[in-house]
């Protein structure tokens, strides 16, 4: 944002343009190869933008991590495309689905049944699902608009798009869709637990993104491609809104992201719009009744609770529990940061090179030691930011329209759109059964429990983080004091040690293998083979050098001798072969 003006500022816009180009390519491609091109393109743009602050080691590491973890997924997609080509002889979507329909229209053999799993791996990598989600929280090292655009709204949903686009192929194996659904559901609840315990609110939003993506996959898996796509749409707006408010706060408080160090911002001059738009985002995220977020989430949950196979009902309950957790952590942020007494500590970011026009506080901002709220003057967002927030907020409202239309029994344009796509054509479109739980059908169930989850989560958050802030620390201390349960907060705060686990089990062995290969390359391939071959010409040169000794007679002898040798050889050949020329 504004703070980044300076050398290499253009790189940011370059990267964003590359991203938009690649994302459009991905979405508009009519064949898998072009889709793959866009897929890799958005990966590249993501890498470039996450590592935008290339002087910051953590940003560079995050960029690398994003890229490398995505490689695993991309390998899956590449193999999937290859398998599709081998099995169906085409990579064009239209032809592919035609051939698929003509050929088997259902379960295929082993190589065919691998296709959905390969595509799934690609989707999980790009959309940060278990087990490949680890890159997304770190990717928040990038500039906040990038987090908003790429790592919340658009790129990460490419995986959802991929599965929706190739939906018919997921019937090739009976468990493929169920796998998608369960991975999505587990990711949703797993990352929600982590999100509940993070103090960096940009990271909270990052984990909430993973969690919401989990809902989308759950929707795909349980058979409502409309739900998944609709949730993608609503999520894009409210999550972008949340990230941009986070960015505005970061901007205002010198990079401060710790929700313990900010409080009552809605009363700080200039942060009113940020606070209220953030509230809208949080309400939408926590599926507040009749918000767009609730409308889209409910489609998924209804479908899950109505499902009969693969334990989809349980998945529905997991989704509901996650919804409560989501409401809790969303409002944990809002109550901490925007409500309560006014209190703030600036972050460590010193923007001294661009602050010439903010003379009133520039002197303070340049001194990182002045961390008390009395000396630090926050940097209120101006209309460049506020305007964007309001526009996106309006968008977030607008995404609810299809849902409201459906509630009124009118035809829903989002659903109509889906009905004409390959995602719909291949989907089972199982109608919600009349399964009855607690004497209610799924619709009623979700309406009731969804509302309870949402409001309950908000109420708990309100108690711990607005009304009785001390009690949250007490609860934590109590949990930590009991050995039998102290692992819960510790594990949640440390993100279940997944990074450490990957570090030990994957990065470690890979690092050792890399060292061995590097040694081999340096000393055997380069040292012996490449340089050895390279030395041959020079050695030959030294061998022949004595011939050029500068002595006239020597030259004459060598030349005449050479000529004589040539003549002798030719005459010999000619005489012995006995064949005339």
């Amino acid at each position: 944002m504004e703070a980044d003006v300076g050398k290499g500022y253009a790189r940011f816009f370059n990267g964003v343009s590359i991203f938009i180009l690649a994302m459009c390519t991905l979405v508009m491609a009519d064949n898998l190869i072009l889709l793959y091109l866009g897929w890799e393109g958005v990966g590249l743009a993501s890498y470039l933008l996450v590592g935008y602050y290339y002087k910051k080691p953590s940003a560079v590491a995050a960029g690398k991590k994003a890229f490398i973890v995505n490689r695993v997924g991309d390998l899956g997609l590449a193999v999937g495309i290859w398998l599709i080509w081998v099995n169906y002889g085409t990579i064009e979507f239209n032809t592919l689905f035609q051939v698929w329909q003509d050929m088997d229209h259902g379960v295929g053999g082993f190589d065919k049944s691998l296709i959905p799993y390969c595509l799934m791996l690609g989707a999980f990598g790009k959309s940060a699902q278990l087990p490949l989600y680890v890159w997304l929280p770190d990717a928040m090292e990038g500039p906040t608009p990038v987090s908003a655009l790429i790592h919340a709204a658009t790129m990460v949903t490419a995986g959802v798009y991929l599965i929706a686009r190739t939906y018919p192929l997921f019937t090739l194996h009976p468990d493929a869709l169920a796998t998608v659904a369960w991975v999505g559901g587990l990711t949703a609840i797993f990352s929600a637990t982590i999100g509940m315990a993070q103090y960096d609110f940009k990271r909270v939003f990052a984990y909430s993104t993973i969690s919401q993506l989990g809902y989308m996959f759950m929707g795909l898996g349980v058979g409502t491609t409309f739900g998944a796509a609709y949730h993608t749409l609503t999520h894009a707006f409210f999550k972008a809104l949340l990230f941009l408010t986070a960015g505005a706060i970061m901007h205002g408080f010198a990079g401060q992201l710790d929700l313990r160090k900010l409080s009552g911002l809605r009363k700080v001059p200039g942060f009113k719009i940020v606070s209220w738009t953030m509230l809208i985002g949080c309400l939408w995220l926590s599926a507040f009744p009749y918000s767009a977020g609730m409308l889209s989430k409910d489609v998924i949950l209804v479908q899950a609770l109505g499902g009969k196979d693969h334990g989809f009902v349980w998945l529905g309950w997991i989704g509901l529990i996650t919804a409560a957790m989501t409401a809790y952590y969303a409002f944990r942020v809002w109550f901490r940061v925007c409500a309560g007494p006014v209190f703030y500590m600036p972050g460590e970011e010193t923007h001294d090179d661009h602050d010439a026009h903010h003379d009133d506080h520039g002197a303070h901002a340049t001194a990182p030691t002045s961390t008390t709220s009395h000396e630090f003057h926050p940097h209120a967002p101006r209309w460049a930011m506020n305007g964007v927030l309001i526009v996106i907020m309006l968008g977030a409202f607008a995404t609810g329209i299809p849902g409201y239309m459906e509630m009124r029994g009118e035809s829903n344009w989002a659903q109509v759109m889906m009905a004409h796509s390959s995602a719909f054509a291949g989907s089972v479109q199982a109608h919600v059964t009349d399964a009855v739980n607690f004497g209610m059908n799924p619709h009623q169930l979700v309406e009731l429990f969804g509302t309870i989850a949402s409001l309950g989560g908000i109420a708990i958050a309100m108690y711990f983080h607005l009304l009785q802030r001390k009690s949250a620390d007490k609860l934590r201390a109590w949990l930590l004091a009991h050995n039998s349960i102290r692992w819960i907060p510790v594990a949640m705060e440390n993100k279940w040690y997944v990074d450490e686990f990957y570090h030990a089990c994957i990065r470690g062995p890979a690092w050792i293998a890399g060292q061995i290969l590097h040694f081999t390359d340096k000393h055997v391939v380069d040292g012996l083979m490449v340089n050895g071959i390279g030395r041959i010409p020079a050695a030959l040169g030294r061998l022949f050098q004595p011939l050029y000794n500068g002595v006239l007679q020597g030259y004459a002898t060598t030349m005449a001798g050479g000529a004589a040798l040539v003549v002798a050889w030719v005459v010999y050949r000619w005489l012995t072969s006995g064949v005339a020329a």
């Binding site: 050029y548 500068g550 030259y555 030349m559 050479g562 000529a563 003549v567 030719v570 064949v579 020329a581």
Partner: protein, 560 residues
Amino acid sequence: MSSFLPMGPKILVLTPEIIVFGGSVVTSIIGLSRSKTLRKSVPLLAAITLLASLAALAMGYSHEAAEQAGVLMPHFNKIIKAIILVVGIGLVAISVGHIDRRMEEAVARGATTFDPMRVVRGEFYSFMLLSICGAMLIPGSPDLIWLFLALELTSLPTYIMVAMSRGTRRAQEAAVKYFFLGAMSTAIFLYGFALIYGSTGSLQLSTIRDVFTDQSARGGIDTLGITGLILCILGFCYKLAAAPMHFYAPDVYEGAANPVTGFLSFIPKIAGFSALAVLLSTVGWSGHAGFSETGALISGLPAPILATLWMICALTMTLGNIGALLQKSVKRMLAYSSISHTGYMVLAIIAGPGLGFEALLFYLISYGVTNLAIFGALSGLQKRGEDVESFEELSGIGRRYPGLAAWLAIGSGSLMGMPPLLGFWAKLMLFMAGVQAGHTPLVIIAAINSAVSVWYYLRLIGVPSLSPPGTSSEGVTKGPSSWPRFAGAVAAVTVIVLPLFASRILGNSAEFAPTNAKPTSATTPTAPVSTPKQTTGNSPQETPRQIDTQIALHSSPTRL
């Protein structure tokens, strides 16, 4: 000899040479004038002479007259002459001010008194024009005596030029070496001429060709003729600086002054290649064309000659490149590089008329122009009145003279064959000609050599432009005249720009074809340079039908 032709067409064909010769006489006289201004105008006069000659060639040359005059390959003849003249103008330009600057430096130091008679030496340019005149006479030789005299006319002035180019003993030594070894090589090819005369009973090249055709129709050219031809080739190798006659090149090139080295690495070489082409046209490429077992078109040269050329080609490029690797002197390095380029060009001679000759001509243009860029830059520098010749002296000069370093870099890039510079297209065309003629192994050897050569060419890019200035490069300054630098600049720009117009330079290769053949666009790879894709796709897998037409193109030495 009944075959002496009427003088009319002969004089018409020889007008350019006559102009150059006249210019040489005039320059040598003016060079003796008492007026310094007049003496200073000598290089200009030489350049005007060459321009006039070029104009005469462009306007007065007709294939019919040339054929009547006994020229075996009229089109080839014309283009060779044009190349010599154009590059010759550049060579004159890079020599300006060079011969005199040691004297001027000595006067400035007070070591000697100013002597107006020694300041501008017109005879140098006179010799230069004479040598150019000789080289121009070669491709049109109708008989062996003419060929011999023309070759000597090319070489003899160069011995003197080497001797007078610098005052050092090394120049004298180089001149003496060059002269003695040149005499030996002359003896070798003169012996070859004698044997050919013994075998065919004629000195007239067209008669020799007929006799050789007869002989091969009756079972093969006799031993005498073949041995004579091989001796000729070996003798010409001296002019080309090709193995096994290349030993003199590093010493002589190093001993001579920079512009003379530039001259030596081009004019005798193009003379040698013209001589080789003229001589081989009496045996080669006619009635011998056929298919190898793999179906590729093979050159029609008699087997022993093919074997000799094959060996010369492989040896020359390899020895040249290997020798260049370890050199500390730029000029020695360029000498070896010149040897290796000869090796590549022999490949074109083996490939024969059509694509091969086109490649040869294009390579000669490329080599001549690139040489001008490099020697222009080197001649534009001096160190206390002496030539700049070691890499150390060039170290870091790019900081003071970025232009000169750029010319060196562009020239080097072109010599190593870096796309999109001229040298790349020349090499590409050459290799394609080689592959098409069925000499893939040679092309592979050439490609490996080309890769090895990057090592030392990169030094000529890196040392002036990237290395820090060293102690030995401190005293290096610009030369007294800006003409060499200007010529280098023009040549460097040409290296970049010429590929765009390359297809127009050689003219339509249909001109290589006999008039009755109707070449289709597929069989006339006129413009591999402007349309590289098409041609690269074209050459290796041609349909047999296309190759048939190629044979038709290849099999008429009368028109070539």
